[in-house]
Amino acid sequence: MLRALLSSVFLISIVGTALAAEPNADRKSELLYRLKHDCGSCHGMTLKGGLGPALLPASIKEHSNEFLIDVIRDGVAGTPMPPWGVELSQDEAAWLVKKLRAGVSHEN
């Protein structure tokens, strides 16, 4: 019984995260465009780095999702990384982190 309850909670939380973490299709393409062109002005359009560090899967693998989401939304004091939280919700930042981990194609 307890186990069933626990796994239900677990399932719900997974489903909940998955649902919350997905912006709609238009917003996704908007986010990818911003990633390429606005994030890209410092991190490079192909995300190989520039004034800011590279954002390739290998370059961010040592950082947790929470850390990366915080950096995106709150910026990094003392560096040019600005807080994007005014434009990006927690879920949108989380979705971007997921895309970065998977590797973003340059073609879109």
Binding site: H37, D38, S41, M45, K48, L51, P82, E87
Partner: protein
């Protein structure tokens, strides 16, 4: 005999005609960077048209261009470390080298014989022969640990066959003097401030100014008296006001110098600063629509045109220099990234990235003269830069 005659004629002809079959100069030509496609459009400002496009220039997501002194060749610096030499008349890439892993910009020497490129990775400056693109000198930047070297920004040419640049991570300004051949004499100025992010040289080539990201202030080097060292100017220019997050770094190359006044973008503020040259004091701060990226003077000095950082980047404003007031606000479209005047200033060309167009305006009437299609245009560079120090 007849064959020889025909051959000579053919040779003569091919020597004087371009691919279009029309003899022409290059003084009204320019390059528009198409940042996403890795291509350029070559434009002309007389009839305001796009003449042709060239592809295969690599990652141009942060790209700039300098021109040979005869205005025939464009040197394009790409983000991926690619340096490409374009023959504007023959309409082709003459030579292309991958000179680093990650670069930010470049300059051409006073005598036109050297091309310098500033690099992020590995951090430093590489200098090439402008005819062959063979490497002439390699100037590694200061080590900052982990085998890394400081990124180099704000590279400009200066009189006396010099290149001047700033070291972003280590907070330095270096002057590399090539007057005595290809082994430069390098003068280093340390502790010039935190995170210099770009630099400019005044149009006369005398003063080099580095903008600081880490501090409210700028660093000034008088190239006529380098023994006096680097001086801090406009210390605390934003004092008492909350600095806003900066969603795009300002660019200093186009900083406007009019008579004894300089017009500079304030980092993190919706202001253009007016600075008196010589005393280097702030004499005014002009409120504008957003955080300025480029503040560029029309060649006659009567107007300053300003574009803005994301997300207020669909607007361009015009400042009247005598009254120091915004006299016009234009809305060319989403993401105006760059602006460039024709040599005598009757037109201004604006790149509107998100709309895939370049807009040309009359600077007297503010009337839109034409629209030219371009794929995610960013930098616009006209050949008149060939004859200007620092551009």
């Amino acid at each position: 005999m007849k064959t020889k005659f025909v051959l000579v004629c053919a040779l003569l002809l091919s020597a004087c005609v371009t691919q279009q079959g029309v003899l022409r100069g290059t003084g009204d030509l320019g390059v528009v960077i198409e940042r996403a496609a890795g291509s350029i459009k070559v434009v002309e400002t007389t009839d305001r048209t796009s003449l042709y496009g060239l592809k295969g220039l690599g990652d141009l997501s942060h790209a700039s261009t300098v021109f040979s002194r005869d205005g025939r060749y464009a040197f394009i610096f790409g983000r991926d470390g690619g340096l490409s030499k374009i023959d504007l008349l023959e309409r082709k890439i003459v030579k292309r080298v991958m000179q680093s892993g990650n670069s930010i910009g470049g300059a051409i020497s006073q005598d036109g014989k050297l091309i310098a490129v500033s690099n992020y990775k590995p951090g430093g400056v590489k200098v090439f022969n402008s005819a062959t693109l063979d490497l002439v000198a390699d100037i590694p930047a200061t080590e900052i640990g982990d085998g890394k070297r400081s990124k180099v920004v704000g590279l400009v040419d200066a009189p006396g066959q010099k290149f001047v640049f700033s070291l972003y991570d280590s907070g330095e300004i270096w002057v590399a003097d090539f007057a005595n051949g290809n082994k430069p004499v390098i003068q280093k100025f340390k502790d010039i401030g935190t995170l210099p992010y770009d630099g400019l040289v005044t149009p006369d080539g005398r003063y080099y100014i580095a903008g600081l990201f880490g501090e409210d202030g700028l660093s000034l080097l008088d190239l006529w008296q380098t023994d006096k060292g680097v001086k801090r100017i406009l210390d605390g220019y934003g004092r008492g006001k909350r600095k806003l997050p900066v969603y795009k770094m300002p660019h200093l190359e186009g900083w406007a110098s009019v008579g004894d006044q300089l017009f500079l973008p304030a980092v993190g503020h919706h202001e253009v600063l007016v600075v008196e040259r010589d005393s280097w004091k702030k004499i005014d701060a002009i409120p504008v629509h957003g955080q300025p990226i480029f503040a560029v003077a029309r060649p006659d000095g009567r107007q300053i045109w300003v574009n803005f950082a994301h997300p207020r980047n669909d607007v361009v404003q015009v400042i009247d220099v005598p009254s120091r007031k915004v006299i016009k606000t234009l809305k060319p479209g989403k993401a105006v990234l760059h602006l460039e005047f024709t040599p005598r200033g009757e037109q201004v060309w604006l790149s509107v990235r998100d709309e895939d167009r370049v807009e040309v305006y009359d600077t007297r009437t503010f009337e839109q003269l034409t629209t030219i299609k371009a794929d995610k245009p960013s930098g616009i560079f006209l050949t008149a830069r060939a004859n200007r120090t620092g551009l």
